[in-house]
């Protein structure tokens, strides 16, 4: 009795809001203006949150992923930016935060946040990607986020590191800068001086507002195109040196182990990559007919020149449309109109960047790197579409 009535009531409620009826949300005033002094998404979007594994051994040195398959465009909203911390997220009072610049400089300096904000500023849209996005061995993720959700993109504002270095005066033998975070890991990475003088930034804002604590509030280093952990968050110290410090993060951790037992060190750049986010794993095509294929592409080496999409298991490829403006070292949204005939299909995308580099297949990468390499996996990732419309990871 109860269940059937309940079901009926709910059907009635749904019809009530459809034409020709007046939807209930037109019959009474909505929430007053300003009821959220800082806004939040609709309650109907409460499932769109960071992709956080529930089974990690610990959450202090850990990562969460952006729900890429839920997002449009190229900007990642700050609330859904991916996270990777090595000592948790510190709560830093910006008034008590300092940046120390020392080592091979004429004038060692200490800056307050106010000092740093007084320098000439610049804003640039760049992606940030974790080096291990994803690994090389099974099990592979089910969704686009499971696979490559350790990438996000934002408009960053800060001061050119070059300007700040000029303030201190580099000595001739300055070849590296060791950057250190003010977190519980005091995370430490060495950056080649060329990058520091090219396009490195000291960033205090992200998508207009101040950095989120998870992204390094009040100050982070930002190295466009480099693996994410090098853009040291909660930046407190820049140590100008003649050689790298060989910290644990650049020896034990972020090195790339080859099958012969040698390991690549100081592997900085994130190479060109793309992923179809719709249709993608975990989604379902409701019916045959028109479906847009869309996704994101990016390259640490500059602009995306082309994205090619295959809908026939890699037999043939078509150029997708790139959303303007195509920005350097930023996500680029690509799209291809597609008529799905209702038959099983495998779809995939591959990015080509302005250097001419072509995104490789997983097999090609594995052949050179083996399964223990772990970082810098930029493989093409195909999705399988079943006759009933279900989309799954074609390599899983």
């Amino acid at each position: 009795g109860g269940t059937v009535l309940g079901a009926r009531a709910s059907v009635a409620a749904e019809t009530d809001n459809l034409p020709p009826n007046i939807p209930e949300w037109m019959k009474a005033p909505g929430e007053p203006m300003g009821s959220q002094p800082y806004g939040a998404p609709s309650p109907f979007e409460k499932g769109v949150v960071k992709n956080i594994s529930k089974t990690l051994k610990q959450y202090i040195s850990a990562s969460s992923r952006t729900p890429l398959q839920e997002l449009d465009g190229i900007i990642t909203p700050n609330g859904l930016f991916y996270e990777r911390h090595h000592g948790g997220v510190p709560t830093i009072d910006p008034a008590q935060h300092r940046l120390m610049l020392h080592g091979l400089v004429e004038r060692p300096l200490i800056f307050t946040m106010d000092d740093l904000r007084r320098f000439p500023s610049e804003s640039r849209v760049h992606f940030l990607e974790c080096s291990g996005n994803p690994g090389y061995s099974k099990p592979y993720g089910k969704t686009a986020s499971d696979l490559v959700g350790l990438v996000s993109c934002a408009e960053w504002t800060g001061v050119s590191l070059k300007l700040v270095l000029q303030e201190a005066g580099l000595k001739p033998d300055a070849k590296w800068i060791v950057a250190e975070g003010a977190d519980a890991a005091a995370l430490t990475r060495s950056i080649p001086i060329e990058k520091c003088l090219e396009d490195a930034m000291l960033v205090y804002s992200q998508n207009g507002e101040r950095l989120r604590p998870q992204q390094g509030y009040p100050l982070r280093l930002f190295l466009p195109g480099f693996e994410g952990n090098m853009s040291v968050k909660w930046l407190r110290r820049l140590h100008v040196t003649a050689e790298p410090v060989y910290s644990r993060e650049e020896t034990s951790k972020y090195t790339d182990l080859l099958p012969d037992g040698t390991a690549r060190e100081f592997s900085f750049y994130m190479e060109a990559k793309s992923i179809i986010t719709r249709p993608s794993g975990g989604q379902r095509l409701g019916a045959p007919g028109f479906h847009e294929i869309t996704g994101i592409a990016w390259s640490g080496h500059g602009k995306i020149a082309r994205v090619e999409v295959s809908v026939d298991e890699g037999k043939s490829w078509q150029s997708a449309q790139l959303q303007e403006p195509v920005l350097t070292r930023a996500l680029t949204r690509f799209r291809l109109p597609w008529q799905w005939d209702g038959k099983p299909a495998v779809i995939q995308s591959r990015a080509i960047d302005e250097t001419g580099y072509v995104q490789p297949t997983l097999a090609e990468l594995l052949a050179v790197r083996g399964e223990n390499y772990f970082y810098h996996n930029n493989a093409i990732w195909p999705w399988r579409i079943a006759a009933d419309g279900e989309v799954t990871n074609a390599l899983a």
Binding site: K57, Q58, I60, S61, G87, M100, L101, H102, R107, P108, L109, I110, F111, D115, L116, R118, F119, L163, Q166, E167, A168, V178, E180, A184, A185, A186, T188, R236, R237, H239, T241, E243, V245, Y246, S247, R248, T251, S252, D256, L257, P259, D260, G261, T262, A263, R264, E265, F266, S267, Y269, E271, Y357, V358, P360, L365, V368, R369, E371, N372, H376
Partner: protein
Amino acid sequence: QTSYGLGRPATAAEIAGWNIDIGRDGSNLPKGSGSVSQGREVFAQQCASCHGDKGEGGLGDRLVGGQGTIATPKPIRTVGSYWPYAPTLFDYIRRAMPQNAPQSLSDEEVYAVSAYILNLNGLVGADATLDAKSLAAVKMPNRDRFVGDARPDVKH
């Protein structure tokens, strides 16, 4: 070269307090020393809960063993099998460990626990005491196995 006149000079004392970077050659290692047996105690009290009694791993990384596995399909990367430089151990433990209370150990305790981990890996003797000089002198088995970044490594 413009000067914006921003920032203020950092004093030597300020730099000394904040500069905790240890070079791979041991540069900037502090005074003091610690022995394997002191390290065993520190480890039992402050590290074993996460890294296991003998450094076999748990909530924290495995710290011991794996020598000879690095070039196999199932490499076990540890301080003993993978790390190229012993001074990095001092650097990392002092800045980041124990994870629940980083920068809480004295320099002596960091030397001691580093000695203990190296001893568990068979890299120093059970009666070793390490200081700046002797820690820097420890030769790590995997030291010469690191190479440059050869990417792009897939050609079309």
